[in-house]
Amino acid sequence: MASINEQLREQARKLLADKVVDLIIGYRKGSLPLRSTPYLVKTEEEAGSLIFDLTSSNNLAKYLPRVKTENRGSKIGIVCKGCDGRSVVQLIIEGQVKREDIVIIGVPCEGVVDTRKVRKKTGGEEVLRVSLPVLPGSGGREIMVEGRGFKITLDKEEVLCDVCLGCQHPNPPLYDLFIGRPREGSSARDEFKALEEFERLSSDERWRYFEHEASRCIRCYACRDACPLCYCEQCFVDETHPQWFGKGPDSSDTLIFHIVRALHTAGRCVSCGACVRACPVGINLNPLWVRIEKEVKERFGYTAGLSLEVTPPLATYDENDKQEFIL
């Protein structure tokens, strides 16, 4: 069987040749090992550089609204693993893109690598070469990383992103064509795994954690800018009239920024982890998002990005919603 990359390139060429799409948002090899980079493919030749593997971590749905605006009238192909696909569903529900303007090229995701975890394994040493298991469904789990004076083999489960460890939806819920075979959903995975540790902590301990994380934030907004659902033309943190919160590194201001972003993405966040991966200082506030996701699921019975038919929970209501917290 042809490798997933070969199949992907083949299909991409065909889509372009048949004018089914005018361009394709995908990935190509990045300039550093363990990284791939988003890639806008316009020609059949360029399609030859497309890849999809354990390094394809960016959420490509982020680019969809902009690529769409910049290429009016074009039909856009987009390579989607599970979480990208769910983001696309959200974007369609929220009226940011039209279903008929896009062609979703589904790929089966085996998780993406957290480069920070790899770096820990190498004792901080730079990785110069890697070899990855061949996707999909090869059963390959070994990742070989090499650097100056070392060569180690890692089990992929040890270095996958936290969100991947809890992933229930490795395939996009909606696609026009699929590369390879959809993966079995991994019901063995606990979707709220990231919460395990946190739910054992006291309120004081959680406060210390969140305050500490927030105090390291440099307000670069890379987390927001990587999030496919943070597409507001003017974000509340950029508003100056009124200026809601200070723009400095004060931990009250930074934590409030994160809390409000979590509220704005409540019932919409698809747990892709792009925000965590984008952070240059390694802040991990994901448990707050997961906690909200859990509340949304338990309270409103909703999981984001799975269906075009359901109204997102915070855009609607039920007269019988629980109100145990209201006096």
Partner: protein
């Protein structure tokens, strides 16, 4: 509002500052009724009148905590009574998530509370304010999310 009388807790020198966002059609009128009926309640609340509980943006709550309020009370019309039909229903969902988020990051439960109080419920309004004031008194001055000046 009552005319600034001290609550019966003279042994506690510190008094919490609580901000209350009250829907003008119900809870605000309920507060008014408590006042004209001379029902006693603690003078710790500062009232902000809003057109509907649906008008209350979570940013208001966070901003109040940041600027040194020790507690926040949000009060609107009972389900079914909202003058804009669904303002309070939609708000209820927003509030549930706000409460989850605040408590998860470690803001004490009790700092931010919610109630439904109609224009006819002067008694209930007083009870709610008593409860919220008591809870916040027990928690002590707010420290979390407060921005040092």
């Amino acid at each position: 509002m009552s005319e600034g009388r001290k609550p019966k807790t003279e042994d506690q020198p510190w008094q919490p500052k609580i901000i209350a966002f009250l829907c003008t059609w119900c809870s605000y009128a309920g507060a008014d009724l408590a006042g004209v009926s001379r029902i006693q309640y603690p003078p710790n609340i500062r009232v902000v009148r809003v057109p509907c509980s649906g008008r209350i943006n979570p940013l208001f709550v966070l901003k109040c905590l940041q600027n040194g309020f020790d507690g926040v009370l949000i009060s609107g019309c009972h389900p079914g009574d909202c003058h804009y039909i669904s303002g309070n229903y939609v708000a209820r969902r927003k509030f549930a998530i706000l409460k989850t988020a605040l408590e998860f990051v470690g803001v004490e439960p009790g700092r931010v509370q919610f109630s439904w109080v109609s224009a006819g419920e002067g008694e209930k309004f007083a009870e709610v304010v008593k409860k919220v004031t008591y809870d916040v008194q027990q928690l002590g001055p707010a420290k979390r999310l407060v921005k040092p000046r």
